[in-house]
């Protein structure tokens, strides 16, 4: 188990290092970082001071080390627009994004997994068909189309809900629905397959043959085993959630980090983009790490064996 955790930590650290390196390479390829991080309108003496401070005339590897040091001290440069530190802008926006993504994730789990398990236990039923239809939905309808259709129906035609903004809880309903509907279908479909697979295993038949009540077979034997692949999928879904937030926040003018990244990319506010890239990557890596650990807890085989 210690080995498992250490291996995962090493991998996570390596991944973050790769992301930082990626940011460094892209930054250097795209032009002079002094210009990039200070903006094109920066006065010459500020540029010179910046160059001297970050050693931009040093060899590349020294610059790379300097860049690492800079990142480690949470210095991501300043935003082109109002000269405030990029990290502050990003941190300000995080609560708004969490206000959408956390409820969406909870909805996905709370509806998706039970629906999938129910469908697996009642195959060929109406609910089962519904789950399959929902998953087709989730796979094929892009979130921007879904979001616009929801706006068209619930905001424009029916006029029940606001189409954008952040002033009340009602404003959050459509964005959260857009973020979660597709994922619910996918998760339900996946839970269904995982459950059906587990139900076909010999140990389930054994448990049934020895006369355990069906309810107990499901709770004690089937669900814990189906949980392992489902948890893996949740790790993948976090990335989709962040990507979805980018689109959804744009559609509904929701002032979160997704909206921030789109606006910053459009304005080429590179310091902010770089900061967002690193913050999102770091949180993804941490989230995946947590998923890996819970995976280790769920699957006793992983606890004993060293990770490969």
């Amino acid at each position: 188990m210690i080995r498992f955790i250490l291996a995962k930590l090493a991998r996570a650290f390596l991944t973050i290092l790769l992301v930082v390196t990626f940011a460094f390479v892209v930054l250097r390829l795209s032009g002079d970082p002094a210009q990039v991080l200070l903006g094109p309108d920066a006065p010459q003496d500020a540029v010179d001071a910046f160059r001297a401070r970050w050693g931009l005339d040093d060899p590349l590897w020294q610059q790379y080390l300097a860049y690492l040091r800079q990142i480690l001290s949470f210095d991501f440069g300043v935003s082109m627009r109002d000269q405030s530190p990029a990290i502050d802008l990003v941190l300000q926006r995080i609560p708004a994004t969490l206000a959408l993504t956390v409820p969406a994730l909870i909805l996905k789990l709370a509806i998706g997994i039970p629906a999938g398990v129910y469908a697996a236990l009642h195959r060929q039923s109406v609910a089962d068909r519904g789950v399959i239809m929902m998953s087709i939905f989730g796979f094929t309808i892009p979130s921007f189309v879904l979001g616009l259709v929801l706006v068209l129906v619930f905001a424009v035609r029916l006029d029940w809900l606001p189409s954008g903004g952040q002033s009340s809880w009602r404003h959050a309903i459509l964005p959260i629905a857009t973020l979660s509907i597709g994922g619910i279908g996918i998760l339900a479909r996946f839970s269904r397959s995982a459950m059906i697979e587990v139900l076909g295993q010999p140990y389930i038949r054994t448990a049934m043959a020895k006369g355990l009540p069906w309810r107990e077979v499901v709770w004690r034997h089937a669900l814990p085993n189906a949980a392992v692949p489902i948890v893996t999928l949740i790790g993948f879904m976090l990335g989709a959630l962040i990507a979805g937030a980018v689109v959804v926040e744009s559609i509904f003018s929701w002032p979160g980090i997704g909206r921030l990244i789109v606006v910053s990319v459009a304005n080429r506010d590179l310091a902010v983009v770089q900061c967002l890239l690193l913050v999102i990557a770091a949180s993804m890596v941490v989230a995946n790490l947590l998923v890996d650990f819970s995976y280790g807890l769920l699957d006793p085989r992983l606890r004993a064996k060293p990770a490969h």
Partner: protein
């Protein structure tokens, strides 16, 4: 015997397909239509995509001469849709092939050389899987600005890590025991082993993965274009049509609906066909 590893991917839609096999036929007809539209876009387009008809702005669907209506500048939606299908399909095709070639090559290199090469490839794959692709694309587009070439190349990185993992895994199991080791033992050089033996044997699995990444690339490209950061005007893609149509959601929803329907039907068709292909080609089933 080699033990075949069954991919944990759910057998999406399998049951529906079994009940209604004609859906696969419909999907194929739709995909074929889309490909034909993309190839003959110049011939079948009723109007030039930039031709404005200021007398007929925001004309609804079914208007004579403008079957799918017109947009805010009086440009014909059908013509723009046809051009968009071409652009989106070209990007998706190009990117799918790029990412399959890139990923498979890296996976084979990892399998052949093992050691640090393998560690590097797997670390890169972890990196790719850890960072949401959309965020990475946005960062690259921010730093370099958007162009058609950059977009195709960028999308060409979408999903490479899946091919790399599959190709590496299959090549290692083929080399450890079985036909690949046997051919090496005959004195074949690595190029022959990989191109003549391993590649044909793993091709079916790779093709199935391609049918999975293809619709995802369409969705990714249209998502970026929707945000105004992918395909740039005056060129048009399905996503960017939806993006511009969004402004007129209340007054002219057809601008946005037509490309949305095309996106949904195309991704659905390819998913259905991919599912069918998997059943046909997957050696673990046979």
């Amino acid at each position: 015997m080699t033990t075949a590893t069954v991919l944990p991917a759910p057998h999406l839609l399998t049951r529906i397909r079994l009940k209604m096999p004609f859906l696969v036929v419909l999907s194929m007809i739709w995909i074929a239509t889309m490909v034909l539209v993309a190839i003959f876009a110049d011939q079948i387009r009723p109007y030039d995509i930039t031709r404005m008809d200021l007398m007929a702005r925001l004309a609804p669907m079914g208007t004579p001469g403008h079957l799918l209506g017109t947009d805010e500048l009086g440009r014909d939606v059908l013509s723009r849709l046809i051009q968009s299908i071409r652009v989106s399909l070209v990007i998706a095709f190009g990117a799918t092939i790029l990412s399959a070639v890139l990923g498979t090559t890296l996976g084979f290199l990892a399998a052949q050389f093992r050691g640090w090469v393998e560690h590097l490839v797997m670390a890169l794959a972890d990196f790719q899987a850890a960072l949401p692709f959309m965020i990475m694309s946005l960062a690259v587009l921010a730093f370099f600005g958007s162009s058609m070439w950059l977009l195709v190349c960028l999308m060409g990185f979408y999903g490479w890590e899946r091919y790399a993992r599959i190709a590496r895994g299959l090549a290692i199991s083929a080399s450890a025991q079985g036909y690949a080791a046997a051919v090496v033992q005959l004195g074949a050089n690595p190029r022959r082993v990989y191109l003549r033996h391993i590649l044909p044997n793993v091709a079916s699995t790779l093709i199935v993965s391609m049918t999975l990444t293809f619709p995802e690339i369409i969705l990714m490209e249209s998502g970026l274009s929707f945000l105004g950061l992918g395909v740039q005007p005056p060129q048009s893609s399905l996503g960017n049509m939806v993006g511009f149509g969004r402004e007129y959601l209340t007054r002219a929803p057809w601008i946005m609906l037509a490309p949305s329907v095309v996106i949904v039907l195309t991704t659905l068709s390819i998913s259905l066909m991919g599912d069918w292909l998997r059943d046909r080609l997957d050696p673990t089933i046979r």
